[in-house]
């Protein structure tokens, strides 16, 4: 599957990834229908694959392309991030770019909001977990203070 980095870079989070997979599934179901009717805003990634407008490529060719694309997207590495606030699109793009700098593959982010973290972030990647939240720092500080006060 050959997709340009510019196209892939637009898949910031699992939200974009899931939308794309959904559209791929829809296209597969209505291969001979007007794609514009299925998804008027056909993503650029589909355009790159020659799937755009009301063009109807041969059925076998389309199915093969869609399957390859789906396999490629599903296998993209994902990192689960927890923030204590709701990030905006701009900030998401910013951190996506930051985390993908120097990577040969493309890291897709799965972002959830957890107020208990107070600030900072937790990261889960490839089965490993790191806690960079201020809640953990606060716990540690308060425990030490309380322990020191009563010992």
């Amino acid at each position: 599957m050959q997709l340009s980095r510019e196209v892939i870079a637009k898949i910031y989070t699992t939200k974009e990834l899931n939308d794309l997979l959904y559209q791929i599934a829809k296209i597969g179901e209505s291969a001979r229908t007007n794609l514009a009717e299925v998804n008027p805003g056909v993503p650029e990634v589909l355009k790159e694959l020659g799937i755009e407008g009301n063009r109807e490529p041969p059925e076998e060719d389309l199915a093969k392309k869609l399957k390859n694309l789906k396999d490629f997207l599903v296998k993209l590495p994902k990192a689960r991030l927890e923030f204590a606030f709701e990030p905006n699109e701009e900030f998401i793009r910013k951190i996506s770019r930051l985390l993908n700098v120097g990577r040969s593959d493309h890291l897709v982010l799965e972002i959830t909001v957890k107020r208990d973290l107070l600030a900072g972030a937790t990261i889960e990647f490839m089965g490993n977990f790191r806690d960079y939240s201020y809640a953990s720092i606060l716990d540690q500080v308060v425990k030490e203070k309380v322990k020191g006060a009563f010992s």
């Binding site: 990192a79 991030l81 923030f83 204590a84 606030f85 990030p87 900030f91 910013k94 951190i95 930051l98 985390l99 890291l107 107020r115 107070l118 600030a119 900072g120 972030a121 990261i123 990647f125 490993n128 790191r130 960079y132 939240s133 201020y134 809640a135 606060l138 716990d139 308060v142 425990k143 203070k145 309380v146 322990k147 009563f150």
Partner: protein, 224 residues
């Protein structure tokens, strides 16, 4: 001489003997017949003697009766004498018996004394043996008891130490639990206050800054 001749001679000899016997028997019967008158006289004489005998007997009986009565009278006097004698004899017998008993009692007492002394000695010996054996047993038991007491003391000390250790451990656990509970409560209070303070003091820009800082740290640690 053949057998037949011997038998013939024997038979003749036997017949002669029989004839002699028969003749002898005949002679005897004839003599008895001659004695009959004599026997009759003897019978008469005898009857006369019997009569006299009866008379003599009757007279003898009369005499005897008198004699018996006299004898009875004499016997009566003799009985009185006998009673007296009997009493004397009784008294003597009693005295004799008493004396004998007394003597026997002495002998018996002596025997009893001897036996008692013997038993006393035996008992004394037995008591000595018992004392000796008891002493041995006591000595043995004493050492055994001392060992047992020592063992029990050690067990008691060990059990006490173990129990004290357990109690101390439980006490420590309890103290630790109470302390942890207290720490947790204090921690929650302080943490809540701190959270509220941080939430109020951290704006979006600061959040973004802290997140970027965390992600950069992760990248630097080559976690991502």
């Amino acid at each position: 001489m053949d057998t037949l001749q011997i038998l013939l001679i024997g038979s003749i000899f036997l017949n002669l003997i029989v004839l002699l016997l028969l003749f002898s028997l005949y002679q005897t019967q004839r003599n008895l017949a001659d004695l009959t008158p004599f026997l009759r006289r003897i019978l008469k004489l005898r009857n006369r003697v019997v009569g006299k005998e009866k008379k003599v007997l009757s007279e003898a009986l009369e005499e005897s009766k008198d004699t018996v009565e006299e004898t009875l009278e004499e016997l009566k006097s003799v009985e009185d004498v006998g009673e007296q004698m009997r009493q004397e004899l009784n008294a003597k017998a009693e005295a004799l018996v008493r004396d004998t008993i007394s003597k026997d009692s002495e002998v018996f007492q002596n025997i009893i004394n001897t036996i008692t002394e013997s038993y006393k000695k035996e008992f004394e010996n037995l008591a000595q043996v018992q004392n000796s054996e008891f002493g041995k047993v006591v000595a043995g038991a004493k050492s055994s008891i001392q060992l047992e007491i020592g063992r029990l003391r050690e067990e008691l000390i060990k059990a006490t130490i173990e129990e004290r250790g357990k109690v101390n451990q439980e006490l420590s656990s309890y103290k630790e639990k109470v302390k942890n509970d207290l720490d947790q409560k204090i921690f929650l209070v302080v943490s809540d206050v701190a959270r509220e303070t941080i939430e109020q003091s951290v704006d979006t820009g600061k959040h973004e800054e802290l997140v970027l800082k965390a992600l950069e740290r992760a990248k630097n640690e080559r976690f991502l």
